[in-house]
């Protein structure tokens, strides 16, 4: 048997391919040109503004930025630790509340009612007020063993975000088709087993993108604990601003927060894309 000769594309197809290649090259050139024009216009607009020199001095002073970067970075380490702790605790709290809200039966009425009341009130209450109440109100009770202001501020963030995340989890639980529960129950699994092995794994996969998105929001709101006093990145920048009478430390802190968020945002986009692809792959 002779080996099959390699497939030769027809002239029509070769013509199509070269046409598409020419079109692709043209698109890239066009995109580069329009980006250059928009960029130049923006640059001219900002740097040509009458107050640009003053703004550059008080917001973008490289000397002050270098001087305050170490202090702000040190503060950022507190934000990172808070972020990790608060994200894990808020996700756990949210999942717990969402599951409590699905419990049926008269015995669980008070649990259900409390969980519902919690999600309703803490989604409405501004985070700043919760932080003030926790960080200044709780120590005011003068109880033995009151934790530090940092821990109390973190608790305020966990309580507030737990309420949001509980609703996201609940949406995920409700999105699992009832036929899945019917299948699980028909096999003899109890309600709890059906939730644990069949409903929750599917629910969490489905709401992973919005959960991560809320975690991105949480990572910047962690900066609000500066209101309670601990020296985080924002507090350090504030001190810098007060001492130099220049806003550059704020810009430095802002850039650092964006850099901190980038990996998490990247992960969120990747998970969202993967979830969308899986949905399009069909059931």
């Amino acid at each position: 048997m002779s080996p099959t000769p390699p497939y030769r594309l027809s002239d029509v197809q070769q013509d199509r391919i070269s046409f598409r290649r020419r079109k692709a090259v043209r698109s890239v050139l066009l995109a580069a040109l329009s980006t250059a024009i928009v960029g130049t216009l923006l640059g001219v607009l900002v740097t040509g503004a009458p107050g640009w020199d003053r703004v550059r001095q008080s917001f973008f002073d490289p000397r002050i930025a270098r001087e305050w970067l170490p202090e702000i970075l040190e503060g950022l380490w507190l934000n990172v630790r808070m972020l990790v702790f608060c994200a894990i605790a808020a996700l756990a709290l949210g999942l717990l509340i969402a599951v409590l809200r699905t419990l049926r039966g008269p015995v669980f009425f008070p649990v259900r009612a409390l969980a519902t009341l919690y999600t309703y009130s803490f989604r409405g209450l501004p985070l700043i007020i919760v932080i003030y109440l926790m960080a200044f109100g709780v120590p005011g009770l003068r109880l033995q063993g009151t934790p530090s202001v940092t821990v109390l501020g973190g608790a305020a963030i966990v309580i507030t975000y737990g309420a949001y995340l509980a609703e996201v989890f609940r949406a995920g639980i409700e999105s699992v088709h009832p036929s899945q529960i019917a299948a699980a129950r028909s096999l003899g699994l109890t309600y709890r087993q059906s939730m644990r092995f069949v409903v929750l794994p599917q629910a969490v996969r489905r709401v992973a993108p919005p959960l991560l998105n809320d975690t991105v929001a949480l990572q910047k709101d962690v900066g609000l604990i500066s209101l309670a006093g601990p020296i985080d990145a924002i507090r350090a920048a504030q001190i810098g601003v007060a001492q130099t009478a220049n806003f550059t430390p704020y810009v430095v802190a802002g850039v650092l927060f964006v850099l901190l968020a980038l990996p998490l945002i990247g992960i969120t986009d990747w998970v969202t894309l993967r979830a969308a692809r899986r949905q399009n792959a069909g059931t």
Binding site: Q180, A183, S186, L189
Partner: protein
Amino acid sequence: MVLSCTDVRKTFGANVVLDGLTLDVGEHEVVALIGASGSGKSTLLRCVNLLAEIDDGVIRLDGADITDPRVDPDSVRQKIGLVFQSYNLFPHMTVLDNITLAPVRVHKRSAAAAREQAMEWLNRVGLADKSGSYPDKLSGGQQQRVAIVRALVNSPRLLLLDEVTSALDPELVGEVLTMIRDLKGEGMTMVLATHEMGFARQVADRVAFLDKGRVLEQGPPEQVLGDPVEARTRQFLARIIEAGRL
């Protein structure tokens, strides 16, 4: 009697789906439920498996009243297998995990023993190479065979099949029907709701024609499908023949 339904009534609001239905199923017997959409076939199967609560009447399994509210529904469902029209496999689990979930979690078998039993079944139905696949990588016929295996590994007293070939492409129906025929050969007691009259004729010991929530006529397949007594049965079969399904 393995299953005995007496005067079963089930309503959804003003809609009476089962209206005093009575049906008995003996050991090793295969009963095919036929009838138009909405005649109550699927609802009856869901009521037997206690997924739906009946509004009156009694359902007995091996002589014991399972519709008594003091009976633990989970313990009843452990003895009854149910296979759904749309398979309802768990999409986040592999074929093997779908099958071993109930044996391990409900029947407290060891993971190794459950896996071995599952693989034995998968070998028998020719799906051993799919044990690590996720359901969405399987054809409809393969998914439905996995769903049947998932019900069988719990060694049910009674297997309920709810239009298990209705969602399948015509060329995939055969592989599922072959499997059910094999099960009959092993003496499995089965109740199957079906639109496949040819299959009902081959595999069923008895065909029951449901109309308006009651068993209007029942008997050997040759009689009910070939020479029905009731006018409504004749009408139903005439429509089926017209649609080319017999």
